[in-house]
């Protein structure tokens, strides 16, 4: 019988688990690696991780659902994370974020219909002396203003 897409994915995840097996407390590194591979942690692979680590599926689900970083569905091609913490608030971050969301036509946690971009809140990027701050696919932006917003919008529409 030919291997299904799920079978291929599960084989790959088994290889990820094997690569991390010697670590103490390997689950978070494994989940990070799975997410790096697929952009999210597919539900279909969770039983395979549970089997390999000899823990229950419920435990895996508990961990995946506990941490804000782990997704259960793919994100957009670009991920914009805008800081909503106090230091950024003090520099008008909320208003800047509203303008960015309006220009993208999105609300927090939403992905654009064309799959280009997901916008997420983040609580502190450690850029508090150059706030308001955001990241686009990990690249950092400080002192956000309308000019930087335009730059970000331009970048994520590609």
């Amino acid at each position: 019988m030919p291997a299904t897409a799920d079978d291929i994915m599960i084989d790959k995840v088994r290889a990820i688990v094997d690569a991390h097996r010697d670590l103490e407390g390997p689950l978070l590194p494994i989940l990070h690696a799975v997410q790096a591979e697929y952009g999210f942690v597919p539900r279909e692979v969770q039983p395979a991780i549970a089997d390999a680590l000899n823990i229950s599926r419920a435990e895996i689900h508990g961990v995946v659902s506990f941490y804000h970083d782990f997704r259960d569905a793919p994100a957009g091609r670009h991920i914009v994370r805008v800081c909503r913490s106090e230091a950024c608030q003090s520099m008008g971050g909320e208003a800047v974020a509203e303008r960015l969301l309006a220009r993208l036509g999105l609300d927090w946690h939403q992905t654009s219909a064309d799959g280009a971009v997901t916008v997420e809140p983040v609580y502190c990027l450690g850029l508090c002396a150059c706030s308001p701050a955001a990241t686009v696919d990990g690249d950092v932006y400080g002192r956000l203003d309308d000019e930087t917003i335009a730059e970000i919008v331009e970048e994520v529409r590609l």
């Binding site: 670590l23 103490e24 407390g25 390997p26 689950l27 978070l28 590194p29 989940l31 990070h32 435990e59 508990g62 961990v63 506990f66 941490y67 804000h68 970083d69 782990f70 913490s85 106090e86 230091a87 950024c88 608030q89 003090s90 520099m91 983040v122 609580y123 502190c124 990027l125 450690g126 850029l127 508090c128 002396a129 150059c130 706030s131 701050a133 990990g138 690249d139 950092v140 932006y141 400080g142 002192r143």
Partner: protein, 519 residues
């Protein structure tokens, strides 16, 4: 001979365009046929001047900032490689900039100066002297030196580091661990990030010394996924240290084994709480553990564990190098040594200011920080992150000291200070404190899990002007329950920002009833 030009690779500088500046410097030098070497140093912490470019000249290092990519050609034109210039961005000798000159840099002595990944630079600036000394001492002697220094937990709890180490040293086990809490999630803080991006070897050195002191052979650095650049630098630094036999089976040929691993969190603020962090390291949900048992007795995987804040561990090398008595000489009362204060938010001169404990809040905000960036009056200053209290200017005589802040209903936390001007609505800030607690609660204890949600509802009713006196009474009662009944600081300290906002800015909590649409 090639000319050395420093362009910071610190995230704060990158956020302001440092990569573009570095690229412009390289291409401009090439176009001019100049032989230059670009070093991506950390930041000195003067963020209003970032990206701050420095050039090694015959007259020492000279700084320019804030430099944009479009300024680079002009700097070469002005001859900035040859010596002092009268370029508009010229800052002269960076060490003479008042913000930097006033500081006492012990933990951050090298940050922003050295190439963060150069062991030669690290040694040339006093690196590994503490470790070499520690290797000639007994574990009990190392612990005694740290105890003598008066060093207390820089994460905010302020527990004496020496006492913690002594407990782990005296606990028998086949395996012990050193865990670095680098889960720097408090808004207004970036000291950990600056060390990891600007001088990662100092943390590695501190953790090895800690391992020698308590008999641990393995260490974990728990970091935030929100700090990708810092993770990258730390992993590189560990590789370099391993290749140089600083980490591994025989630290500096001493026969002592110690190795390190970076572990990355997954966006959970509560994992900055030490027991939640240990759960997370074990691969579980970041749920807080009840204490006892203390981590020093039963910590990571049930083994005796030193779990210290990153800045505490990064302060250990200088303590071993110069002695506990030297370190203890700085500070006041029971707060000894230096504290890297992070001045952030709506402030003119934002950045990192390391000094002995004892500056007043007013000195920090007004003299050093220069007041607000917006030029408007300061209304409130939040000290110690999202669980820290809001201080009005009337309390600016509070000295930066663990006990002084506790006495005024606050905490110094990880020493982050966020300045707000008079446009801030303190009811909104109180609501945010509850909202943040609701988002980040681990869910184990009821006061935090449910209380935070009820708090948001109460704030919303206040905002709508519904029966304010009654809501305020319930908020006070709720804060009492959360403060006394929560398992950890997340639920337990959320009342600090809420009650300080309420007590110092009562007018913001009493709104006119919102008019009905039908009116």
């Amino acid at each position: 001979m090639s000319i050395t030009i420093y362009v910071p690779g610190d995230s704060g500088a990158l956020a302001l365009g440092a990569d573009k500046v570095a690229k412009a410097v390289a291409s401009e030098a090439e176009a001019r046929g100049l032989d230059i070497r670009v070093v991506r140093n950390g930041s000195r912490g003067l963020y209003w001047l970032e990206p701050m470019v420095e050039v090694e000249t015959g007259e020492g290092r000279l700084a320019y900032g804030p430099v944009k990519a479009r300024d680079v050609a002009g700097l070469f034109e002005a001859g900035f490689c040859d010596g002092p210039t009268d370029h508009a961005l010229s800052l002269g000798d960076p060490e003479e900039i008042a913000f930097l000159k006033r500081q006492t840099r012990l933990t951050f002595a090298r940050c922003g100066i050295v190439d963060p990944l150069s062991l030669a630079d690290y040694r040339a600036h006093g690196g590994f002297r503490g470790l070499e000394k520690a290797l000639s001492m007994s574990p009990a002697e190392i612990v005694a030196e740290v105890t003598e220094s008066g060093l207390r937990g820089r994460g905010g709890a302020g527990f004496p580091t020496g006492v913690k180490w002594k407990t782990v040293l005296e606990t028998e086990a086949d395996q012990k661990y050193i865990v670095c809490n680098g889960d720097e999630g408090d808004s207004g803080t970036f000291a950990d990030r600056m060390i990891l991006e600007g001088d990662p070897f100092v943390l590695i050195e501190g953790m090895i010394i800690s391992g020698l002191a308590v008999g641990a052979t393995k260490g974990y650095i728990y970091m935030r996924s929100e700090y990708p650049h810092a993770i990258d630098m730390t992993e590189k630094a560990i590789e370099i240290a391993r290749a140089a036999d600083i980490l591994g089976p025989s630290v500096l040929m001493s026969g002592h084994s110690f190795d390190l691993e970076v572990r990355v969190g997954a966006g959970a603020y509560v994992c900055g709480e030490e027991t939640a962090l240990l759960e997370s390291l074990e691969g579980k949900r970041g749920v807080v553990r009840a204490k006892p048992p203390l981590p020093a007795h039963k910590g990571l995987f049930g083994k005796p564990t030193v779990i210290n804040n990153l800045i505490s561990l990064a302060s250990v090398p200088v303590i071993l190098d110069k002695g506990g008595a030297f370190y203890k000489d700085f500070g006041l009362g029971r707060s000894r040594g230096t504290i890297p204060i992070q001045i952030a938010g709506n402030v003119k001169y934002g950045g990192l200011f390391e000094d002995g404990f004892g500056l007043t809040l007013g000195q920090i905000v007004e003299d050093i920080g220069g007041g607000t960036a917006s030029g408007r009056p300061v209304k409130a200053v939040q000290v110690g992150g999202p669980l820290g209290a809001y201080f009005p200017p009337e309390l600016f005589d509070t000295e930066f000291d663990y006990e002084a802040f506790t006495a005024r209903g606050g905490l110094i936390g990880h020493a982050g200070i966020v300045v707000f001007d008079d446009t801030v609505d303190m009811l909104d800030q109180a609501r945010f404190a509850f909202e943040f607690c609701a988002i980040e609660s681990c869910g184990k204890c009821t006061p935090c899990r449910i209380g935070a949600v009820r708090g948001v509802e109460l704030a919303d009713r206040l905002k709508a002007g519904v029966d304010p006196e009654n809501q305020i009474e319930i908020i006070r009662d709720l804060c009492d329950t959360m403060h006394l009944g929560s398992l950890c600081a997340l639920g337990g300290f959320t009342p600090y920002p809420v009650l300080s906002a309420l007590n110092h800015f009562p007018d913001d909590f009493r709104r006119e009833p919102r008019r009905e649409a039908a009116e």
